[in-house]
Amino acid sequence: MSLIETTDLYKTYAIGDVQVHALQGVSISIERGEFVAVMGPSGSGKSTFMNILGCLDKPTSGKYILDGIDVTSTELSKLAGVRNRKIGFVFQGFNLISRTTALENVELPMVYNHTSAKERKEKAMEALKAVGLEQRAYHMPNQLSGGQQQRVAIARSLVCDAPIIFADEPTGNLDTKMSIEVMDLFTRLNKEMGKTIILITHEPDIAEYAGRLITFRDGKKISDEVKK
């Protein structure tokens, strides 16, 4: 069974009197261990699609099975646990909690799944080591460079052993050198740890790192190609 399986997803918003059809029948399946890039112009529905895949939002209709869990029939309030165990998020703006050390930021997902304080610290240190930031464990986010902050966020996405990492424009706020560092890290996580990585980007050279490229336009998937 595929790790991610969507069938005929529709999402419709009402903005004032206008109905916005953000997704119009998207069916995709992603296997364990894939590295997928999702591209498309703004308004193409790729962000809506990612929010639904990330269990942050629910489709208007259609079916979404994540690692055997029928997300569409699960209440939004119960999805917190699914996000915690199955998904790691990496955002464009890093989204670390300010005035909180790198270590504590990485520990945070484990706070919410009731891991003991001791185990939390050990695992968080391990994750920081995996992204090469164990020396910066007690720095606050504002004492770290953008690339370092993004690596802390990646460590946070690893710490619960979630099989999937969703990265929404992870290099959008980084310069070229840092972007390469971060993308190399993603590649390593995909190759060495077998993480399934789903990446949204509008930069073709970033999409190059992925093994599969899905393109969206007007709420529909217009291409889906696996590179050799």
Partner: protein, 409 residues
């Protein structure tokens, strides 16, 4: 589970520490409320205690017989309270003692010392009513009363003031130009308050008072007394005893069975009831003031918590994305509100205790009595205020959807 709870608590503390000034100003309302409640409870219970003290010293089993201050106009010829009444009352079942009571302020001289004191003209039964102890010498006897003896028993403070180091026994003092021999000095009783203050006064036989003193009193036995002080045997039977006394006095005054009383009989029990009702009213008033100040403080907490939730919407989104449930978010903000108001409560307790102790130690006219229970109650109220007023903001935070919260700029 415990680790999670502690971590969430630490998150809340960190949020408070990040905005120290704001936290201080927010808890100020609670500080003032709690300090006010503690101080007011202390003053309230102190007032009640000192009232009880006065009543118990005065004795709840005493009655006053006197002419009403506002005499009913329909009574054409009211009779004075006289020794006839005293004698009649003494015969009533359940009466232990009854003493005539005429008091007046006199100028007293000894040598070159001159001062003004309260003189109580009475008879020997007064010593069966009040628990006054003799320090030196003797009290006056029935014979002193019968023979119009010019003798005086001085209160402790009076003896000190007039005689200083000299032994007053056997000395002659002049009341309004009339010489009296000091036959006794009373022990300091330290009562004061209601009734006659023995420490500051002097006792003389009522007969002597009537004959010798230039106060409009004369030697007729039937002239008016200020009042009669009566001590009853059993406080529980006071209503029956009162009725019996009343009948006896009506008899002496020859009042027609259908006629109205031309006298009044007051008992301390009814005064106590009145005083208790008054102090209860005061307690309610204080409670309302405390509640209002805590309400205002609570609204302050709620206000700042709503600001805090709005400011940290994005943070809430991040937490939800990485697995925080609605309950986790609610707990975080509720803990923040409760911590804020408990800090306020704690400081308020310290200030309130300080003020109460200060009043207790330094103020003579405002009594204060600090009770541990009042501290717990007011601290408990501050915590409850935090829960009550923190709940809505916390609920609001927990109802955000992760996607809206993350998008919030």
């Amino acid at each position: 589970m415990i680790d999670t709870f502690l971590s969430i608590l630490r998150i809340s503390l960190k949020a408070i520490m990040a905005n120290k000034m704001r936290a201080a100003l927010t808890s100020l309302g609670i500080v003032i409320g709690v300090a006010a409640v503690i101080t007011m409870l202390a003053v309230g219970s102190g007032t009640q205690q000192s009232m009880n003290d006065r009543f118990s010293r005065f004795g709840t089993n005493t009655l006053y017989l006197r002419q009403p201050w506002d005499l009913d106009e329909s009574i054409s010829s009211p009779k004075d309270i006289t020794m006839d009444d005293v004698r009649a009352v003494r015969k009533v079942n359940g009466v232990v003692a009854a003493a005539p009571y005429i008091s007046s302020s006199f100028k007293v001289k000894y040598g070159i010392t001159s001062t003004s004191i309260d003189v109580l003209a009475t008879d020997t039964d007064i010593f069966n009513i009040y628990d006054w102890q003799l320090e030196n010498g003797r009290t006056f006897t029935e014979r002193d009363v019968e023979t119009y003896a010019q003798v005086a028993v001085l209160g402790a403070t009076v003896a000190e003031t007039i005689f200083n180091d000299v032994d007053p026994l056997g000395k002659t003092v002049i009341f309004n130009e009339i010489p009296f021999t000091v036959i006794g000095v009373m022990k300091k009783s330290g009562q004061g308050g209601f009734g006659f203050d023995m420490d500051e006064g002097t006792l003389i036989p009522y007969t002597t008072g009537k004959v010798k003193m230039d106060t409009g009193w004369n030697n007729s036995d039937r002239r008016a007394l200020d009042r009669v002080i009566i001590r009853v045997e059993d406080i529980n039977d006071i209503e029956n005893t009162k009725e019996a006394i009343s009948n006896a006095v009506r008899n002496t005054h020859k009042i027609h069975p259908l006629g109205k009383d031309d006298f009044q009989l007051d008992d301390m029990a009814s005064w106590i009831e009145e005083a208790k009702a008054a102090s209860k009213t005061m307690s309610i008033l204080l409670g309302v003031i405390g509640a209002v100040s805590l309400l205002v403080g609570g609204i302050g907490v709620m206000n700042i918590m709503l600001v805090s939730v709005t400011e940290r919407t994005r943070e809430i989104g991040i937490r939800m994305a990485i697995g925080a449930t609605s309950a986790d978010i609610r707990l975080q903000f509720l803990a923040e509100a409760v911590t804020l108001s408990c800090i306020g409560g704690l400081i308020g307790v310290l200030i309130g205790v300080g003020i109460s102790l200060f009043i207790e130690a330094h103020s003579t006219n405002i009594p204060a009595h600090l009770s541990i229970i009042s501290i717990f109650i007011s601290f408990g109220f501050s915590a409850a205020t935090g829960i009550f007023f923190g709940f809505y903001p916390a609920y609001k935070a927990s109802k955000l959807t992760p996607i809206d919260a993350l998008r919030y700029e």
